[in-house]
């Protein structure tokens, strides 16, 4: 089961290394990981997606808590958080295909960021599932490049970690 772990850490060099080391040491696979500074410049938020059972995630949470630079750890509940991922996708496009691509973009809410006689660079921010769908829809046009950020997430409502 995919689970989203949100971690607040000291914004310092070497912290990310310690956190990823903690996963690899136990042979836990990280599905995705996104880091960014929070509103407090001394604190970064790391959002980690793991595909593991509950006992594994519980142990990961405890091990993360043991790290001195980790301030808070929370596994976000399945239906009680908003998770979004950003994708930049460059696809082959010419006079014949451009309009079809634009239609799909319109349906999915993607934005055109760059255009050239032979390509389009598209931007979409959504749930990972919807990004997958969008990517699948683009495949027949021949995708040149894809870059995805990994999910970032916050709890729904007024709660915070």
């Amino acid at each position: 089961m995919k689970q989203t772990i949100s971690v607040l850490v000291e914004n310092q060099a070497g912290v990310l290394n310690r956190i990823t080391g903690l996963f690899s040491r136990r042979a836990f696979n990280i599905e995705s990981l996104a880091v960014g500074v929070t509103d407090d410049p001394t604190i970064s938020r790391i959002t980690i997606i793991v595909d593991s059972g509950n006992s594994v995630v519980e142990q990961v949470e405890k091990q993360l808590n043991k790290l001195v630079e980790v301030i808070k750890v929370r596994t976000l509940e399945e239906n009680n958080h908003i998770g979004r991922e950003l994708m930049l996708l460059k696809v082959n496009a010419n006079n014949k295909t451009r309009q079809d691509i634009m239609t799909i973009c319109e349906i999915m809410g993607a934005k055109v960021n760059d255009i050239s006689p032979t390509s389009l660079t598209l931007e979409l921010s959504d749930t990972p599932d919807r990004l997958d769908t969008f990517q699948a829809m683009m495949r027949p046009f021949s995708i040149l490049e894809v870059a995805r950020t990994g999910v970032i997430a916050v709890q729904k409502g007024g709660g915070k970690i």
């Binding site: 000291e10 060099a13 405890k62 091990q63 808590n65 001195v68 630079e69 301030i71």
Partner: protein
């Protein structure tokens, strides 16, 4: 005041009175500052790994944090095994390493290595100091982190230019405030209540004491809880010696290499109270089975230990000493465990009065250890190495009110001799014994120099069987096909080695001479090496 002086001044503020180290180019400023402070003792090791072990021995008997200081590159990498050994046994250490100049970091220059990166998996925390003004705060934090919660080694890596950098002002912080580090101390009252009820309800309770009992200085509390409620006590290797061997509630050590009685107690109990132990594989081979069979209580300061190897029915997180006191404050109705204790006592008596096998021209380790233990002073510290000698000592050496120190977690050969030196530095008057094999002795015998330098009185028992006994034993069983690479051919004459360091030796190969030789050995002035001839076929199950 420069960074190096600030470092030494900070160590003084932490009441550090001894450093185990090995100098080198990048740590020279710190060593230079140390030279001005004769009130801090210094032991020059012969390889950096042993600085870690000495600091560990020192920490374990003194209750203070051990300090070691080495240079960058190979000095730091040699220390790694010492740090990992301390980590696995949760020993509070602060390791200080020199580092190449900050502006050259990452260029692979002479004696540069990313030591904070290298020790990350087995250190509690580490610092790479970038500004000398941070040194007082970092040292304060390092000692706090190393010694509180679940103790462990903390590394401070200081580039040489930072050691030479002038501080604006030296102010040693009064308090530590790390927002991500707040270890729990007190146990949850509701859980305490549940534990008390579970104890009262049980018929066949057993306490399993681990190294955490020592780390939180909770021996008295543990014994009181056991005695008041008549609960038999079994121990892991790290918890050994919390009870004297002849204590009626002491049922011995559990595990693959443990006492039969202790393993029976573990298998047949209806309530297992684990205190400061992680239930690792060598102690508890099948935690799942234990979990299915009996109610379990797990008391540990580290929340991550709860449910790591065993999912306890009642977890209780906090300092072992504080929690045991909380339990002692409750009115627990002692369980009716007379029949259970009686049954275990029978196993125990049979085990303790067992007659060991005897072979002409050799000494059986159990026979020697039983006599040795009886002759030791009440509070002797016995440092035990790794291999067959460790199993024998843990199984057969009678305990009084002293300490048995060994590398239980990592199983580092060559631990005993340097650890004993650390013990002696902390407590010069304490009777200190080393028990090792001819394999492990050769991993540490260069440290006889430290014994000689300080004129220490350490008695070393060496079991000589000319083979790496425990590996030999493993290789002689399925699925392997006989011994390879375990014969200790080419070993030196240990008497000559010892005498080269000015240490006398005795050789024992006849059990008839056992008592007389042991008396001479223990009564001799200064250090002494006792070489015991052990037959290479002797196994730990004999």
């Amino acid at each position: 005041m420069n960074g190096a002086q600030a470092l030494i001044e900070s160590l003084l503020q932490e009441h550090v009175d001894h450093i185990f180290g090995y100098a080198g180019a990048t740590i020279c400023p710190a060593v230079d500052a140390l030279k001005e402070h004769p009130e801090i003792g210094y032991t020059l090791v012969r390889t950096e790994q042993n600085a870690g072990h000495m600091a560990s021995g020192y920490a374990r008997v003194s209750g203070k944090t051990g300090v070691c200081m080495v240079t960058s590159g190979p000095g730091a990498t040699n220390l790694i095994t010492g740090i990992a050994t301390a980590y696995m046994d949760s020993i509070p250490l602060v390791a200080i390493t020199g580092q190449v100049p900050s502006h050259l970091l990452g260029r692979d220059i002479f004696q540069e290595v990313d030591i904070t990166g290298a020790v990350a998996p087995f250190s509690k925390h580490s610092y790479l100091v970038k500004n000398a003004n941070d040194i007082p705060r970092i040292v304060k934090e390092a000692f706090h982190i190393a010694s509180t919660g679940r103790p462990g080694p903390v590394l401070i890596d200081i580039p040489i230019d930072v050691q030479n950098q002038e501080l604006k002002r030296f102010v040693y912080p009064e308090e530590v405030n790390i927002r991500g580090y707040k270890p729990s101390v007190k146990g949850n009252e509701l859980q305490i209540k549940r534990v008390a009820e579970a104890i009262s309800r049980s018929k066949q309770p057993v306490i399993c004491a681990g190294g955490g009992v020592w780390l939180s200085h909770a021996r008295d509390e543990l014994v009181e809880l056991a005695e008041r409620n008549s609960i038999p006590v079994i121990k892991t290797m790290m918890g050994l010696s919390v009870l004297p061997t002849d204590h009626p509630l002491n049922m011995g050590m559990i595990g693959a290499h443990g006492n039969r009685c202790a393993n029976k107690a573990l298998a047949k109990a209806d309530l297992l109270i684990m205190v400061g132990t992680r239930a690792a594989d060598r102690a508890v081979m099948d935690p799942g089975e234990i979990q299915r069979r009996m109610a379990t209580i797990h008391i540990d300061v580290d929340p991550a230990e709860i449910g790591k190897n065993m999912q306890a029915a009642i977890p209780l997180v906090g300092d072992v000493k504080v929690i045991l006191r909380q339990l002692l404050e409750r009115d627990i109705t002692p369980p009716d465990s007379a029949a259970w204790r009686e049954q275990l006592r029978e196993y125990r008596t049979a085990e303790l009065s067992r007659v060991f096998p005897r072979r002409e021209g050799y000494v059986f380790p159990g026979t020697l250890l039983r006599r040795l233990g009886d002759k030791l002073r009440d509070d002797a510290a016995v440092c035990v190495d790794v291999g067959q000698n460790q199993i024998f000592a843990c199984k057969y050496l009678p305990q009084k009110h002293g300490r048995l120190l060994t590398s239980g977690g990592l199983g580092t050969m060559g631990y005993a001799l340097p650890a004993a030196i650390g013990v002696k530095v902390a407590q010069p008057d304490r009777q200190t014994i080393v028990i090792c094999g001819d394999g492990s002795f050769q991993m540490a015998m260069n440290e006889l120099a430290a014994i000689r330098c300080a004129g220490m009185d350490i008695k070393i028992v060496l079991f000589r069987n000319h083979v790496l006994g425990l590996v030999n034993q493993i290789q002689n069983a399925a699925p392997y096909h006989g011994p390879f690479g375990v014969a200790l051919d080419g070993s030196p004459d240990f008497e000559t080695i010892a005498s080269a360091y000015g240490i006398p030796s005795l050789v024992l190969s006849d059990e008839d001479a056992l008592d007389e030789t042991l008396d001479r050995f223990l009564d001799s002035r200064g250090s002494c090496l006792l070489i015991c001839e052990v037959h290479p076929d002797v196994g730990t199950n004999d």
